[in-house]
Amino acid sequence: MNTLTLGIVVIIYMFILAWLGYIGYKQTKNASDYLLGGRKVNPIIMALSYGATFISASAIVGFGGVAATFGMGIQWLCLLNMFMGVVIAFIIFGRNTRKLGEKYNARTFPQLLGLHYNSRAIQIFIAAIIFIGMPLYAAVVMKGGAVFIEQMFHIDLHLALLIFTLIVAAYVITGGIKGVLYTDALQAVIMFACMLFLLFWFYRVMDMGFIEANRKLTEIAPLVPERFKEVGHQGWTAMPVTGSPQWYTLVTSLILGVGIGCLAQPQLVVRFMMVESTKQLNRGVLIGCVFLIVTVGAIYHVGALSNLFFLKTEGVVASEAIKDMDKIIPLFIDRAMPEWFSAVFMLCILSASMSTLSAQFHTMGASFGADMFPKLGHRKNANSTIGVRIGVLCSILVSYIICYTLSAGVIARGTALFMGICAATFLPAYFCSLFWKKATKEGALASLWTGALASLFAMLFLHKAEAGAVGLCNLLFGRDVLIDVYPWFAIDPILFALPLSTLAMVLVSLITYKKQDI
């Protein structure tokens, strides 16, 4: 497919997005519409938007590359995405979150907890964490999309990044959450269709069935590169050696970090407050799970099986065909799929990036404009959304700058990192606001501070992957990590920080409970 045709496909896609953004803009009359869609969002659109926001380009390109390199163990993440991210999130958390949001008329995640605990400090703290921490995740998502475009179309990475960031910015700033939701729904449909085709075409190209392909993949286990065998890789249809560095990365960072972290993602939580009743959430369970197993399940499965394709065509496994694991999926699409599908798949990656990015920008903007500076632009009009729009703009600029500083291979880890921070910092306070009447303001504040500081400390001084890269520990103490005894430096920060923040929540709440009522 030539560049002109590709360009036309992309331009049509962009026009449709612009049109959906315009519809969102026309339907946005006040701050409630801009932030929550007036709490009357269609459940199918909400569930599709939830799924599309959940699954970013990093989930496809980054984790797909992880599957290609380390195998099918990553399917545990698919399971946790479905079970924690949809079943538990919608049925257990979503129901109470919606009711609580309605009770307090909360419009953002920080506002929900701030009003519940009757604490402006809690609201500002959560908003600040979102506004400071989320640009890193947004930058990782940007990087995922940009890497794909660079790989597939050999165009200037910076230009492509700039154009699609500007487009997302345009429909988020003008259309608000309605613009985000409508575009998300379209993008979810594109992603769903692409992943189904990817799965179908892979088996067609390889001319083998599900079980046969799995068996072949098992048989090539001896071809695992030595550098991966050393860290515990046992083959693409086997879990890494228990307790090995790869096992810790897979289980603690990728599976637990993302699997549990998704429960406390502000941009996902806020979607529960957008629907009118519990009935809408019940419908979302079905739509969300079907969407996730097809999108996430397919890319992880095909990612691992891509080793068979590379072995057949290149004579080497995927991680030998291309060293940067973030580039494996783009290369695989380029080589294995029909030419026309490259363009469609580019839309899929753009969709995945844009849907996640738009939600992130909206959430960061809401944190800035509605939580941190609620009076910004409200002097003349109480329903003004100017503060949120300024927040969106700032968050886009910061994310864009961070994106340029990220190194190769960072996509999957960056996603896990942010989700881990969210879980450690927000989850205990959020969970207790929904289910524990004895939870107090002091307990929530202690938990938030403990989670955030413990995560930061573990990342800077304990977890080698981040501490080594940042270098602060080395600067202060002359070594990469404080405890260089295996496996401590391989354990993800979430495993230190989440129990500590939970403990802080429980202990401080129990101590302070009798003194006050929420």
Binding site: L79, Y104, N282, L286
Partner: protein, 46 residues
Amino acid sequence: MFGISDPGIWLAYLLALVCLFYSIWFGVTHWNKDDEDSTNPQQPEK
């Protein structure tokens, strides 16, 4: 199972399928089930 010998892997596939079927069952049986009458009062901004 599924052509995969390591239970650490095929269990993930199996549980994902169980989760999928549960969600389908839940979604279908609760499609019109609500906790309460629809309440969506337009409250003043806080």
